[in-house]
Structures are given as structure tokens and as C-alpha cells.
């Protein structure tokens, strides 16, 4: 702080103050604009993603008929003479993985969430939370390695007919990957049901299970459903686990024991290979990416809709 100078006239002081005020004023006006530009970056990112996918997909459809894309049941882009681009085998591959992951993760995830919110002591919860956080933080490349080098060999011991690349092992590991998502969001929903509701049910003579299943679970249903939908959405978009452990054979067969390809692992296969810029194969990854984007966007919107529409207010 400057000490007021006795020699300076009050008028000069006032002028000085006004000058400072002017500077401050200008700064106060510029800063919100700068910050708004920063906020615009994330909007531009969305716009960029959508436009990129649309433009490159349109270019792709100049070479390949859109009817073929949706109706052909074969995805065989690497043929020199007669490539076929039917998205169905890739979508089916993604659905297989997502189905196995959901069958594995939803029951376990909900069981863990119910245990932590309704049964566990504070101490158990304190131990389990960091464990789940670590599980959530494990990079998917690590899960992919785990699927290929541990889960697949173990499963092949039990079921010798299982191929090295299959849907089951990566499906299970994608399930492991989404368990923390389901647990943490469901647990939030369960614990946000007010204590008096719980006490009321227990005071009526219900056991903890009756309280949990007939009172708490229905009350938290919207949050639980939203957590499941978000988990499924993550399974659909999962890339590394399936690239490493599920193989790279687009297949329209319903078989789970043999190699397959998902939308995500096709993109990885093309971008690790030498498909040159401008080829039909290059543009095909955008059409696949667009399909994938539509799937996950729909799931995320559904999750938002569920948690808004069906929320129980207390």
C-alpha cells in the first residue's frame, strides 16, 4: 500500500484514482470475454467431433452405398477385388462384448453397492472405497493385458474348445472394468435415500434385506438404472481390452467362443496398419466411429433422462 502523499493535491489524487479505476474497469471487462472463449473450446470440441464424423462419413458414402452399409451382413474391407462394408458384424461384436460384460458386472456391481450402503460397517466402507477407486483407475491397456495373459488361459483350461481370441474373456474383463462405475453411482443413489425411510422400515420389523429390497432399492431405482446405462455405454466404447483379447475377425455368427471384431477394435486395426490417407478404408473408420458415437450418445442421453425423469424427491 502506498502512503498518501501530502504534497499531491486532492484533485491529482482523484485523477490517479480514476486512472486506476479505468484500468480495473478494462480488466473487469476483458476477463469474462477471455474466460468465455475458454468455455467455447469444449463446445468447439463437440462441434469438431460431430462435424469431423459427418464430413468424413459423407466422403465414405461416396465410395460405398449407404444401403450396403446398413444391410450387408459382411464386413470385409481388406479385399482388393470386392470389398464389402456391412456394419452389422462390427455392431454384433460390440453387442456380444457388451452383453457378457453386463451379465457379469450388473449383478456383482449391484451386490457390492447394496452391501456397502446397507450392510457394511464404516470400516469396511473405508477399506472398499479406495480399492474400487484403484480398480476404476487401472488403465484399460492393463485390463487388456490381464484378459489375454490370465483370464483367457484360465478359461481355456476349463473350456478347451475356446479359441485364443474370443468374446467371453474380454467380455468378462470389460465387466470388471465397469463394476466401479456401477458400484459408485448406485451406492450414491442408495445412500441418498434418507435415513428415516430406512429406520421406518426396520422399526416395522423388516429385516435388512426386506428393507433394502422393498424400500431402499425402489427408492433409488432411477440412480441405479442410470448407473447401469452409463456402465453399458462405457462397455460399448471400450477399445483396448477388445483390441487385445477379442481378435480381429468381423463375424456375423452368434458364436461367443471364436475371434470377433468390435467397432472400436476395427478403428484400432486400421490405424495401426498402413491404410493410407484418402483410401476408402481410411474413411471407413469415420463411418464406424460415427455409428459408435451415436450408440454411446444415445446411452448417455438415456441415462440423463432416467435420472431426471424418475428421480424420487425427498
Amino acid at each position: 500500500m502506498k502512503t498518501p502523499n501530502q504534497d499531491v493535491s486532492p484533485v491529482q489524487q482523484l485523477l490517479e484514482k480514476k486512472y486506476n479505476g479505468g484500468f480495473l474497469n478494462r480488466r473487469e471487462k476483458i476477463i469474462p470475454i477471455v474466460l468465455f472463449i475458454m468455455a467455447a473450446v469444449s463446445v468447439l470440441t463437440t462441434v469438431g467431433i460431430v462435424l469431423t464424423l459427418i464430413f468424413e462419413t459423407v466422403t465414405f458414402f461416396k465410395d460405398v452405398s449407404i444401403v450396403e452399409f446398413f444391410t450387408a451382413t459382411e464386413w470385409y474391407p481388406f479385399s482388393n477385388t470386392d470389398p464389402v462394408y456391412g456394419i452389422w458384424p462390427l455392431v454384433l461384436g460390440t453387442l456380444k462384448i457388451t452383453l457378457i460384460a453386463s451379465l457379469f458386472a450388473i449383478p456383482i456391481g449391484l451386490a457390492v453397492a447394496l452391501y456397502l450402503s446397507e450392510y457394511a460397517s464404516t470400516r469396511t466402507r473405508k477399506i472398499m472405497k479406495p480399492i474400487l477407486e484403484v480398480l476404476a483407475g487401472v488403465p484399460t491397456i492393463v485390463y487388456g493385458f490381464f484378459a489375454l495373459t490370465f483370464i483367457t488361459p484360465v478359461l481355456r483350461e476349463i473350456f478347451p474348445s475356446l479359441e485364443l481370441f474370443n468374446a467371453i474373456s474380454p467380455g468378462i474383463v470389460v465387466g470388471i472394468m465397469i463394476i466401479p462405475t456401477i458400484v459408485s453411482l448406485s451406492e450414491d443413489a442408495l445412500s441418498s435415500v434418507p435415513e428415516p425411510v430406512r429406520h421406518g422400515a426396520l422399526a416395522m420389523g423388516s429385516t435388512k434385506w426386506e428393507t433394502a429390497s422393498k424400500v431402499i432399492f425402489p427408492a433409488a431405482l432411477s440412480g441405479i438404472l442410470a448407473s447401469i446405462v452409463l456402465g453399458v455405454s462405457r462397455a460399448i466404447g471400450e477399445t483396448m481390452i477388445v483390441s487385445i483379447a477379442a481378435g480381429s475377425t468381423p463375424s456375423a455368427a452368434l458364436d461367443l467362443t471364436s475371434s470377433l471384431q468390435t467397432m472400436t477394435s476395427y478403428i484400432v486395426q486400421v490405424t495401426t496398419g498402413d491404410a493410407g490417407f484418402g483410401t476408402t478404408i481410411y474413411y471407413s473408420i469415420y463411418s464406424v466411429g460415427f455409428t459408435l458415437f451415436v450408440f454411446t450418445l444415445a446411452m448417455n442421453m438415456l441415462a440423463q433422462f432416467i435420472s431426471k425423469r424418475f428421480r424420487e424427491e425427498y
Binding site: L24, R27, E28, P32, V34, L35, M38, A39, V41, S42, V43, T45, T46, G48, I49, T52, E56, I108, A111, V112, Y115, Y119, M128, I131, E133, V134, L135, G137, V138, P139, T140, I141, V142, G144, F145, L148, T149, F150, I176, V183, T207, K208, W209, E210, G237, T239, M240, S243, I244, T264, I267, V268, T271, I285, G289, L292, F293, T296, L297, Q304
Partner: protein, 294 residues
Amino acid sequence: MENTARVKSEEMVGRIDGRLMKNKVIKGIFLAATAFTTIILMVLLYRIISQGAPYLSWDFFQNFASRRPEQAGIKAAVIGTIWMMSVVIPTAAILGVGTAIYLEEYAKKSALTRWIQMNISNLAGVPSVVFGLLGLTIFVRVFGFGNTIIAAGFTMALLVLPVVIVASQEAIRAVPNELKEASFGLGATKWQTIYRVVLPYAIPGIATGSILAFSRAIGETAPLIVVGIPTFVAFLPSGYLDQFTALPMQIYNWTSRPQVEFHNLAAAGIIILLAVLILMNSVAVWIRNRFQAR
């Protein structure tokens, strides 16, 4: 009379036993599920450490990638990841905190603000491989950066940006209104209040959330593959427009080879990756606990 009453109460006791039994069994099942997730983590860590630990040597850190597993090392990947993060961290932190300040302190409750907010939460749900496609088109092709550090760094920064924004928003929202009002009351301008009062109070929360977001960027593989980051790199980058490789790319490359020796190398790489992530997580938790007391 007496008899029937006794029978009834015995019946009820019997039913209560059944209900309590059911409760116990279900509790047991839930406990087993909870234990199962812990066991999975233990098995995963045990497998990776037992496979990879013998390969962790000074040479492993000193050597470049090699076709011979006994000579292969992780130097280029570690250095490359550090280079990439030196782009990701400032970019995502400045944009993320800036956006959060705008949304929390300046934006009016308008349709535009709601739209931006919805945008951010939808962006958080976009698969990382799609961010890779964005990076490939915009940074690699349109801006002409090629498959370099700067292209990968910007792509990763955009990927983690929503997480940084949301964490920063929560931290800024948690600043008590009294503090802000006191600052305004002393004649501070809005920006002075934000810069000198709101931000210092919110920094620990912002740091915790951001560190977790950055640790995600270190482990992400898919966007790097799509952007075209090479896996076999036997040199160190000297600038942001150089090619490079990163830890998860090197691990992916070793994992996708059929030989067991390369799988062991991948496990060794994973140990380093997980060690870095656990270190970052611990720092985040430490900051959270250190400043939560206020």
C-alpha cells in the same frame, strides 16, 4: 384357545427364523461379491508384479525398444510420456479452470449456459477412440502437426478437459459465499475477488480432481493409436513437433506380440505405469486430506 395361540406364535417364530436366515444368506452373497472385486485386484497386481518385476533393471530404463526382448527397454516411452504430459497439463488446466470460473462466476442462467453445461457432460461420455478420430482429423491433418507430441498432447487435453472442468466447478462452488461477500464489501472488484479469494480457497479441490484426470491421460492408449503414434521408436524427441512413443503404446506393442518374453516386458512396463498412477493418486488423496480440515 391357549393351544392355538401357542401354535400361531411358534409359526411366527418359524417364519422369522426363515426371514432372518434369508437376510443372512443374502448378506453372505453380497459380502462374497465385495470380496470378489478385491480378489480380482489382488490377482491382477500379483500376476503383473510376478511377471514383470524380474525385468525391472537399470538397463530396462536405459534401453530403447528392441527386437530382442533381453535388450529392450522403456526409455523412449517414459521420456515421451513426460513430453506429452507437458502439453496436456497446462492446456487442460488453463482451459478447464477458465471454463469453470466462467460457468460458476460469470455465466448467466441462460439457455446458452445450460447448453454449454450439457455439452460438457456429454463430452465426458464420448469414447476415447472417438477423441482419437477428432485428433487425427483436426490436429494431425487440418493443422498439419502430423503424428507428433503436440497433436497427441492436444488430443489428450481435450479428452480429459470435461473431468477437469467438472472438478474445478465443484471446488469453486464449495467456496463459502461469506468470503466472497466480505471481499466485495471491502471494495474488491469481481476479478480481484476471484483471483485472491475464490481461487486460493478452491485450489486444493481443483488440484485433486485435475491430478486424477491427468493420470487418466497417462494411461489412455486408444487415442494415441488412432492419432498414429508409432510404437517402435529408438530416439528421444527434441521438440514438440517430433515423433515420440508413450508408455501405454509401448505396453500395447509388447502385449500384441506372441512371445512370452515380450509379455513379461509388457508387465514390467505396466508396473512402471501403475507406479506412476498410484503415486499421482496418493498425491491427490494427500491434498484432499490435507486441506479438507478447513
